[in-house]
């Protein structure tokens, strides 16, 4: 394999400065400047995206680390021990991983039938529904939580498990409806017709044809809702404290009250499920399952 520098030098000969080559074999890979720009750009992007995360991971294993050293002066696992010894933190991990699947499941039960109906049937006022969901998304969460507090007090939801589930659920509804709706809509009707033609009833057609084919979009929505619950702090703080202090809520106090190592350890813990889920659905997200959901049809 030739180095980038060599390749740049040779292709410069083909493309003199200022002269655009008439025909590049590949639009960007074929000649020097594009290649260099690509490599530099990818490097900058990698640093911009991953730098902060890697830097934080270093902190999680740092004993002593003073500016301007590029790496910690002393490595240590002591902060990991401290975090695991602190029952409140351990409890918050447990709580987060209880709320996330529950919120995901409730969101699926509430939204998936609606997504299917919006995708397949001439629901009256369909467009209005989709736009209402969108408009609700535009109101800032804090303003919502202030007045929701009154409503929650009236419904005796303050400080309850269900109250926390509900407040986290609100943030998942838009994409839990939109993305699966787009996924259902993109299953060609002919595939369903073909299954009915060979003798499958409506329910079976849905279970054996529509659902498996819409699965990528549904999976993406499920994962996003899981992550949204795992990420939600403001509303959970308002409704859940002091009984239900989840990981992100805990994170705020860690950030302000502890040295960076503690927050870093906690951050790494909190990121692990996210990374696992990312690997699970990355292909589908890149394949357009998410993007499709946002073009209201």
């Amino acid at each position: 394999m030739t180095t980038t520098a060599e390749r740049t030098a040779t292709s410069r000969l083909e493309a003199p400065p200022g002269g655009r080559p008439r025909q590049a074999r590949r639009p960007t890979g074929g000649y020097g400047l594009g290649r260099v720009a690509l490599v530099v750009g990818v490097c900058v992007l990698v640093i911009f995206i991953f730098g902060p995360i890697l830097w934080l991971m270093l902190w999680a294993f740092a004993g002593i680390w003073h500016y301007p050293a590029l790496l910690p002066q002393r490595w240590s696992l002591s902060w990991w021990r401290q975090v695991f010894d602190y029952p409140q933190l351990v409890r918050s991990v447990g709580l987060s991983f209880t709320f996330a699947p529950v919120v995901m499941a409730v969101s699926a039960v509430v939204c998936l039938p609606a997504a299917y109906a919006l995708a397949r049937f001439p629901v009256p006022g369909r467009r209005t529904m989709l736009v209402v969901l969108f408009a609700a998304n535009a109101f800032p969460k804090i303003g919502l939580y202030i007045t929701i507090a009154g409503l929650f007090y009236a419904l005796h939801l303050m400080g309850t498990f269900f109250g926390v589930v509900l407040i986290q659920l609100l943030g998942t509804i838009v994409f839990m409806t939109w993305i699966p709706a787009a996924a259902f809509a993109s299953v060609p009707r002919a595939l369903e017709d073909a299954a009915r033609d060979v003798g499958a009833g409506r329910v079976r057609v849905f279970l054996t044809v529509t659902l498996p084919l819409a699965a990528p979009g549904i999976l993406v929505a499920l994962v996003l809702s899981f992550l949204a619950s795992l990420d939600e702090a403001q509303g959970t703080f308002l409704v859940g404290v002091p009984r239900y202090v989840t990981m992100p809520v805990q994170m705020y106090s860690l950030v302000s009250d502890y040295p960076p190592q503690a927050a870093a350890v906690f951050a790494v813990l909190l990121s692990i499920p996210s990374v696992v889920l990312m690997l699970l659905v990355r292909r589908h997200v890149l394949g357009g399952s998410l993007a499709k959901g946002f073009e209201i049809r």
Binding site: L45, W55, P68, L133, G150, M176, E295
Partner: protein, 299 residues
């Protein structure tokens, strides 16, 4: 009769999310509106009974007193300007980056495209609290960027932690995945032949991108713009962790006004201001979906 029944069935199946949103978001928004206009009783009684410093409409239909008060505060005006500035800058940078990445991905081979978009999409899966904190550490005094700058002798390199610049960086980091996904999936959907026809007619790559790909990819771009703008306008975590205390952004300001100063009415006025800005940002999106739906309906 049967048809009406069937339509009712469809409506019923489609309604749970909308009902939930109407009850727990629609109703609170309506309550918020009347609260900010000076109605302290009824659904607002619980909140207003413990709140400090409220403006009441009394016997009048409504009062803009609370709005006037908030807008008369110079700090608020500064924060409003800062919010608009940060939102505009972040959206601009996100769009530029997302288009560059998506365009490179579209014009290069499948492999490069995969790598680029895979990279850009990672922050989608990192909780915002963690992302913000990591970015704060990375760009602050004592962070990686300062350390590197110091090592190469650039001691004047700014520490971006607790500055609006840092907020912009973090907002870009958080918002990039969605914009890249929208725009690159839109670009992938444009057939090669359309682009090649433009090249064939004598357009350079950039000209073809500008005159063919951009107009054909307008809807995803507008969607990316609006959703990014709305989420930055109302964001709390990023400016709270990364931003300065003054000027603050409206999200943390409203939270602080409520939680620290116990002034829910003023906090709600600020929320209404954010909502108003968000609606302005959303207009192109609503217009574009309306237009594209109308076009598909007639063709």
């Amino acid at each position: 009769m049967k048809a009406a029944l069937r339509r009712g069935g469809y409506l019923l199946a489609a309604s749970p999310p909308v009902a939930l949103v109407a009850l727990f978001i629609g109703v609170p928004i309506a309550v918020t509106v009347i609260y900010t206009l000076g109605h302290l009783g009824g659904p607002n009684a619980a909140v207003s009974s413990i709140a400090l410093h409220q403006v009441s409409a009394g016997d009048r239909l409504l009062t803009f007193g609370a709005y006037r008060e908030v807008f008369d505060e110079p700090n608020f005006r500064a924060d409003l300007v800062a919010t608009v500035w940060v939102t505009a800058a972040s959206v601009g940078i996100v769009l530029l980056l997302a288009w560059t990445i998506a365009l490179f991905a579209r014009l290069s081979g499948r492999r490069v495209a995969g790598i680029l978009t895979s990279l850009a999409v990672v922050p989608l899966f990192i909780p915002v609290v963690i992302g913000s904190y990591a970015i704060l550490q990375f760009w602050s005094y004592g962070g990686f960027m300062k350390t590197i700058a110091h090592a190469v002798g650039l001691s004047g390199f700014p520490a971006l932690g607790f500055t609006l610049g840092g907020v912009v960086l973090a907002e870009v980091w958080v918002s990039l995945p969605f914009a890249v996904l929208m725009i690159s999936s839109g670009l992938q959907a444009v057939p090669d032949s359309v682009f090649e026809a433009a090249r064939d007619a004598g357009a350079s790559t950039l000209q073809a991108a500008w005159s063919i790909l951009l107009p054909m990819n307008l809807l995803p771009t507008i969607i990316a713009t609006c959703f990014t703008g709305i989420s930055i306008l109302g964001s709390f975590t990023v400016p709270y962790l990364v931003g300065p205390t003054s000027p603050n952004l409206l999200g943390p300001l409203a939270t602080e006004t409520f939680q620290s100063f116990n002034q829910p009415q003023q906090a709600e006025v600020m929320s209404m201001v954010i909502f108003g800005l968000a609606i302005v940002v959303a207009l192109p999106y609503l217009w574009a979906t309306y237009r594209s739906n109308r076009d598909t309906a007639t063709s």
